[in-house]
Each structure stands twice: as structure tokens, then as C-alpha cells.
Symmetry: C2
């Protein structure tokens, strides 16, 4: 097989993670070994920046900076939520595709890598199909990324191990705090974590439990509707037994009517907008109102998906490996695939990378299986623990300066534009 | 001077910190060197447990566990907010004091160490005075502790450096996240941190700024009333310039009428209670309502004062040193003092411990000086940075097991009770 000679473009999309940059480092490192990949470009802010022909020269970055991507959180190239949507807006989508391929051709892009979640893999899939339809020889490979862990076909997603490690440590620490104050204070603490549809992130905090009575005592998953009475009984029983109770709440938890607890639209603020303080605040009101129990909340928000000071070493290694594997697949002539992680051994844990057709990924939601959750719905069981435990192994080291992490920021030197501005 | 022979009692009080256990380790380690200190007891849950004669035998703990207190968050002995209040309830306070001295005598307590904040130092002071009045020879030394950093006379408080380190790293990481999403998402993020009256914790996040445009872009301190218009103008100007804005909010920030933003009692929940989601949520509504800007919140809550996975090494060392110094002072015949930290050199940073009469501590509130804050009130200035920067030096190491911290839990073997139960 003759090697496809040309340039490489890599971009990032969707909500950032602690290790999405490690994947980019993997792409760059592997591509650097192959001389028929001539130029390496980064697309700024995902597909949106590419449409604006905002490409940066990755070979112009310091080698140190590329290395630093292994521990730098968020999307070093910038990201977006922009969607090329043929269903909702076929005219705009068609224009966008035309524009994208003008840019690919103008810059002789023959290798395209897109790191992201469900929507981003869908975009990559469409670009792959369009490349074939338009007769532009280009290899398109998706790199998996999402803290939500909701991509199908891959054992888990890069980004997931790190958010679980940080959140589980936080729950453990909060529990030490609350339990030591429980005598005449404290009592209940609700920790709200991300996850609107899938409860993988919330479920992961079960790893903080080393024994029966350890926190978290209750985990509320979006997959299991909250029965108010059963929940309050469980909180009360826990406080009666231990003096305190730590509850982890996935932000998307729903009541039995299917409404999100954090989206009660009945309360309006001064501007007439619904007060959406979130699920934990709603449950705090419930607990204080019904049980008269002192209750506090923690809402980790963006902090949890950016906590590179405490990332999983395995997660960073796997993210890097996914980037490398994407390049190797493209060099092998593959296109239209997403790299996936395959668990080749459970104990000791070992992984390999594989490939899955991009068409299998889009619009498939991967949620926590019901038989990985206790009968009462309040706690993931041993099947889940066996699955998740290995993913938080090791601490990904971060260099420090003056007592704080020293992350890298790319120089982002723009490649000269070849086309008129986007309309 | 003849050495005072007898037993030691140490206890913890008030809100826990990452390093209050390190102070206890310092007390135990130093006391172990002096044979005229015979038995070493820990009072469970502060003064409240002592009143119940719940004393544990510290010499019965594993040496490894005592060592582990150097990196274990929260209060290993338990804590309380119970106050012996001669003003509000003189009858109960008198009874409590009688009971305390019965217990001290029954267990021959001659050395008493109390680690805590303002209220706890006040309690220690009263016990010191009562010991003198009652003719019970006992040395009483307070050990400083508070993330709030609001104790007077000490350069800073053990616990403060660690909360600042964790919060500043978090703000830095959140800023990486928000800025990488700013193109068509993100925009404003509010991070709420602790500090009801004093803004030391919020101010400390300024250390995340390595250059002019770095986050945090605005820090709201409880000391400076929020001018709504000036605040919104600053948010808008920052977003116009950088595409995003990260705001740190001390939980106790007030409006110009002196009311806490987080305590707007006009909104009621389903139980008729005021909705107190906090200052960040209130400001989020304001920003979304007035600027139509996508805004998200992070509320670190208890997580920040328990984040031992990322504690300051210097902070732990200083906390340990304070515990040692307390014992040495008592052995030197001192009583009625609090250990304080003294900065003996600014660059390089060096500290020593000193002593301050307990009577100087109680009811004195130490807030951020106005001339350590920028003229517009939105940012601590270089004077503050020079003060705070050294306090976050180094990462306090924590052993891990299965990817998560391995903290210690004391065995807590109770000493045999000598007295009838408390009435």
C-alpha cells in the first residue's frame, strides 16, 4: 500500500476533560514518527474554528509544551458545541460541509482526528462520509473523550477515570469532615456531581467506600427515579446509625414523575426566570423540611472535570494511547472509525485499543446497567466496583511553581489563511 | 523548677481543617519525649466529650496512626461547637466548669491543650482562669487552627495555607476549562468559597494569577460591600476582553445595605423556609438576568477544608510545630497562652512559633486590611500576594491505596470512667 502523503488536522470538541489534551499529545507524538505526514495543524475551537480557517501550526509549538499537554486540563486547542445538523438545518449543514472541504483541500488535509463525545463522533462520521462522497482521499478517525462515560462500544472513556478519582477522594474527605463534626453539628452533606442522563460519574464515588459504613451512604443516579419516602427513610436510618450521612447526587436525577429535581421551574427569581440551583439544593430543602436535619451542599461543577492536580495516571496514559492509536489506524488506511478502549485482562487490569465504526457510536446512550446497581437503587454493587476500581490507578504528576500547578498554554501561531472569510 | 508531673489531655474544637490533626501529632510527639507527662488522653468531640468523660488513651494508638495524623483531614478526635457561655447561660456555664474540673482531677490532668479558632481559644482562656481560681495546678495552652485565618496576633493560622492552595489550584483549573469553552459556550463561572466575615480564603485565590489576564478576574470579599453596577460592569468588560470571566465569591459577601447576598429571605421553598442557595447562586441570577450571559457556579463547601489530597506541606509542618511548641511552653511552666506563628524572614520565608496571652485572642476579628485590596475593591494587591504566596509551598504527601488516599482512623479506646454520668 502506498502511503497517503499530506497534512494532519486535529481538533477537540465538547466539554473538556482532564486528559483530552493527553490524547492530542498522543496524536502529535505518533504522527511525528511518520514523514509522509507533512504538516500538523490544530483546529481552534473544534469544527467552529476550522470553518473560520483558524488553524494553528503544531510543529511551531515547543516540544516541552506538547509534553505538558499530558497533564494540562481543558482543551488546549479550544473547543465548541457547534453541531453540523443535517436534520434541523440542512441548508446550513450543506454550506458548512462545502466550506470544510474547501479548507481541507486548501491545506491538503489528508488526516483528520476529532476528539470528543457522542456529538463529536457524529460530526467525524459525517465528515468521513462526505470525504468519500466528494472523492477527497482523507482518513478520519475519532478519538473518544468524555467524563460522562456514555459512549458505547468502548470499555470506558478517557476522562472518566480522572473525574472519578477526584470525586471519590472529595467524597472521602468530606465524609471525614462531616463525621468529625457530627456530635452537635454537621449531620448531612449532599455532594452534587455531573451527569445529566447517565450516572457513571455519581456511581464512581462508590470507590470511596472501603467498608460498609464508609461514605457515600447513598448515591442517586439519573437512571433510577428518586422515591422521596424511601430516600428520606434511608437518610434518617443512616444518621440514626452513624450520626451523619453523605449523599452523592448526579445532577440529572429525576423524581418518579420523570422531572429533574434540579429543574423545578415553580420558583422564580427577581427577573422572572426559574431558580435552578440544582438537584442537591432541592434535596437539601427536602431533608431540612421533612427531617429537620442540618444539611450542607457541595457542588463541584466545572472543578471536577478540570482537576488535573489529581488526575488518574492510568487515564492519562490511556488517553495518550488513544491518540497514538488513531494515527496508527489512519496510517493503516482506516477511516470512519473511533478508537475504543478494550479491557484485555481484569486482574491485573490491562487494556488495549481497538476500532469501532463511527456509525455505531452516534445517538447510542450508554447508561449504568440496572444489574450493576443494588436492588434498592441507592448504591452501585460489586459488578460496578470491579469495573471502575482499576480506572483511578496512580496519580498523574504535574510540575509545580510557587506551590501551584504549572500547566502549559500553546503559542497558537496561526497558519496563513488561503480562503476568503466564511460568510 | 520542679517539673509538674501528671497527665495530658488534648482536644479539638470548631470546624475541622486539613492540618488540625498534624497539630495533635505535634503535641503527642513532643509530649512523648518527657517522662513526667505520664498518660496522654484525647478528649472526644472537644469540650462536649470531655464533659461526658469520653477520654481516649492516645498511647494505645498505633505509632503509625499518630504519624498518619500528619496527612489525615478533619478532626481525628472529633470536634464540637459547644460553648461554655458565662454571659448567655451563667448557670449552665458554672455547672460545666465544675464538671470539667471534677474530670481533670479524677484523671489528674495537668496539661491541657485545645486546638481551635476564636471560640475555642476563649474556652481555653476560661479554663486557664478557672484553674488558677480553683487552685488546680494545670498548664493550659491553645493551639491555633482555622481555615478562616481570622485569629489576631498570629501571622496566619494553621489550616489557611492548605485551603488557599486547593482553592487557588481549583480556580486555575476551572479557568482553563471555561476559557477553552468560551467560543460558543461557558463565559462566566462563579466559585463560592468559605469565609463569612473575613475574606482571607477568597483573597487567597489571587495566587492563581500568574499574569494580568489570568483568573480570577474578580474576587468578592465580605469586607467590601458589592456595588451591583460596578460588579456587572467589571464582568462585562472582562468577557468583552477575554471571552470569559471567573469570579471568586466569599460566602459572606454583602450588598451595600449590609445584607448577605446568599441570605435573601424573600424566596420561600415548599416548606415555607427561606431558600438559601448561597452568594454564588444569587450573583448567577443577577448576571444572567442583567447581562444575559451563560453562568455556572461551583460551591466547594466542606470539600475545601478537607482536601488533604492537595494540602500545603508548609501548612502541615507549621501545624505540627504549633503542637510541639504548645507542649514545650507548658513544660516551661507557661499557661494561658496561645501558640502563634511568627514570620522571621520574608524572602526566603521562615517562621518560628511564639506565645500570645489567650486574653488577647477572644472576640478580636482579624480581617483583610483595606490597603491590601485594590482601590476598586475587586482584587487583593501585591501586599496580600507577598503575604500569602509562601503559605502554599509544597505538597503534603499522602499514602494511597487502590488509587485513593489512605487516611488514618484512630482506634479510640476509651479510658475507664471515674465519675457518674453528666446530669
Amino acid at each position: 500500500m502506498a502511503h497517503l502523503v499530506g497534512n494532519l488536522l486535529v481538533a477537540q470538541s465538547g466539554g473538556p476533560t482532564v486528559v483530552i489534551n493527553a490524547s492530542i499529545a498522543g496524536v502529535i507524538t505518533e504522527a511525528g514518527k511518520h514523514e509522509f505526514i507533512e504538516e500538523m495543524y490544530g483546529g481552534m475551537n473544534g469544527i467552529l474554528g476550522i470553518l473560520n480557517e483558524e488553524l494553528i501550526d503544531l510543529q511551531d509549538e515547543k516540544a516541552k509544551a506538547i509534553e505538558g499537554l499530558r497533564y494540562t486540563p481543558a482543551a488546549a486547542l479550544g473547543t465548541c458545541r457547534y453541531k453540523i445538523d443535517f436534520k434541523k438545518n440542512p441548508e446550513q449543514a450543506g454550506k458548512d460541509m462545502d466550506r470544510l472541504f474547501e479548507i481541507f483541500k486548501a491545506h491538503n488535509i489528508r488526516y483528520f482526528f476529532y476528539a470528543g463525545g457522542n456529538d463529536s463522533q457524529d460530526t467525524a462520521h459525517k465528515i468521513h462520509e462526505q470525504a468519500q462522497a466528494r472523492g477527497w482521499e482523507m482518513r478520519v478517525i475519532g478519538v473518544p473523550k468524555t467524563i460522562d462515560n456514555d459512549l458505547p462500544h468502548t470499555d470506558h472513556c478517557p476522562g472518566y477515570g480522572s473525574v472519578v478519582k477526584y470525586n471519590a477522594a472529595t467524597v472521602m474527605e468530606v465524609a471525614f469532615d462531616v463525621s468529625s463534626m457530627a456530635t452537635d453539628d454537621g449531620s448531612c452533606c449532599l455532594v452534587e456531581v455531573m451527569g445529566r442522563a447517565a450516572g457513571w460519574i455519581a456511581a464512581g464515588t462508590v470507590l470511596a467506600k472501603r467498608s460498609e459504613n464508609d461514605a457515600p451512604h447513598i448515591i442517586l443516579l439519573p437512571e433510577i427515579p428518586v422515591n422521596e419516602e424511601a430516600f428520606l427513610n434511608k437518610v434518617k436510618a443512616t444518621v440514626d446509625q452513624l450520626g451523619y450521612c453523605v449523599v452523592v447526587v448526579g445532577e440529572g436525577v429525576k423524581n418518579e414523575q420523570g422531572d429533574e429535581l434540579g429543574a423545578d421551574k415553580s420558583r422564580l427569581d427577581a427577573f422572572g426566570h426559574a431558580v435552578l440551583s440544582g438537584a442537591a439544593e432541592a434535596l437539601k430543602e427536602l431533608i431540612q423540611g421533612k427531617l429537620d436535619l442540618k444539611t450542607r451542599t457541595v457542588k463541584l461543577g466545572y472543578a471536577q472535570r478540570a482537576a488535573a492536580h489529581y488526575g488518574s495516571k492510568l487515564d492519562a496514559d490511556e488517553a495518550f494511547a488513544c491518540g497514538e492509536a488513531a494515527v496508527r489506524a489512519a496510517i493503516d488506511g482506516k477511516s470512519g472509525f473511533m478508537v475504543k478502549l478494550v479491557r484485555t485482562s481484569r486482574d491485573p487490569y490491562r487494556f488495549d485499543t481497538g476500532l469501532q465504526p463511527l456509525g455505531d457510536i452516534a445517538n447510542v446512550e450508554h447508561v449504568v446497567p440496572r444489574d450493576w446497581i443494588s436492588e434498592d437503587g441507592f448504591m452501585p454493587n460489586d459488578k460496578f466496583v470491579q469495573y471502575a476500581r482499576p480506572l483511578i490507578a496512580g496519580e498523574n504528576p504535574v510540575p509545580h511553581e510557587d506551590g501551584l500547578p504549572k500547566f502549559v498554554v500553546l503559542d497558537k501561531n496561526l497558519v496563513e489563511k488561503q480562503l476568503p472569510p466564511r460568510e
